[in-house]
């Protein structure tokens, strides 16, 4: 392992993380809910009365973030190397498996670990493990 110091962005990443934490804090302290993106989005597919608008607004807030950002300056770099077929396969896998696993990086990784949920700790270790292994196989076994 070598550390890529030129790409390392400790202050931006730490302050972005704090903002994410503030959002998660607001959501539990004000709305009484866990800010788990896959659960909030997935719940929109089986709409229940009185359970739609808050989900739609949360998702709208996230989607509108780049537009709000543009009021202050140019967007940060966003580089998507994967081609369309891979994006479709990855998207399908992420969609179906976050629902089976009851959460993703936000619900398990941020909120779940913050409240020391055993299920979330196991889930986070599991997806980190396969994330590392997948990138290892793609980059270093197949050399893509």
């Amino acid at each position: 392992m070598t550390i890529d110091w030129t790409s390392f962005t400790p202050w931006a990443s730490l302050s972005g993380g704090v903002l994410i934490g503030v959002a998660a804090a607001m959501f539990i302290l004000l709305n009484g809910r866990i800010a788990g993106i896959s659960g909030i989005l997935g719940g929109l597919l089986v709409p229940k009365k009185g359970d739609v608008l808050w989900r739609a607004l949360f998702v709208a807030g996230m989607v509108l973030a780049p537009t709000a950002w543009l009021l202050t300056g140019p967007l940060p770099e966003m580089q998507i190397d994967a081609g369309y077929p891979l994006l479709i396969v990855a998207g399908l896998i992420v969609g179906i498996s976050t629902r089976y696993g009851s959460g993703c990086t936000s619900g398990h990784g941020v909120c779940g670990i913050s409240r020391l949920s055993p299920r979330s700790i196991v889930a986070t270790l599991a997806f980190m493990l396969t994330g590392f292994v997948t990138v290892y196989i793609v980059r270093h076994v197949f050399g893509l």
Partner: protein, 144 residues
């Protein structure tokens, strides 16, 4: 519009801003973080660190409470068991995450930039979530 809906929108917006600031919305950076045996960019450790540091304070403040500051019931996941759906789902999620570098939150933010690749990923992800609902629906039908 009542305050719960305003806070859902604002929380989503802050969450999205945090993802943009932190670098999580850039799949290239996420994949560099997952590439621990290569030229490793540890930045995203700090995203989780910052978010969890704030999250721990927030969830500690909820101890002993049943309702949020705005009178909403605190809806915590109550399950404690580690079942195969949680583990298999999370392992699967890591594979999808490692293939394209997108997890659900950053994908929604990237969708908001209008990048065609991000739009394709989000459509596939929502289709994956819909597949989960269809499979679960047909399973409950067979059982009953």
């Amino acid at each position: 519009m009542n305050k719960h809906f305003v806070s859902a929108l604002v929380t989503g917006l802050i969450f999205g801003m945090g993802l943009l600031v932190s670098g999580m919305a850039n799949p290239d950076k996420v994949l560099s973080f997952l590439d621990i045996t290569g030229n490793w960019d540890p930045s995203l450790m700090l995203v989780m660190g910052g978010a969890i540091a704030v999250g721990v304070v927030a969830f500690t403040l909820t101890k002993g409470r049943t309702h949020s500051l705005w009178g909403e019931p605190l809806r915590f996941p109550t399950r404690q068991d580690l079942d195969s759906r949680l583990i298999m789902g999370s392992l699967g999620f890591g594979i999808g995450w490692g293939l394209a570098g997108f997890c659900p939150g950053p994908a929604l933010v990237a969708f908001g930039t209008g990048a065609p690749k991000a739009i394709v990923f989000v459509v596939a992800m929502v289709a994956g979530m819909a597949m989960y609902e269809l499979i679960e629906k047909s399973r409950t039908k067979t059982v009953s």
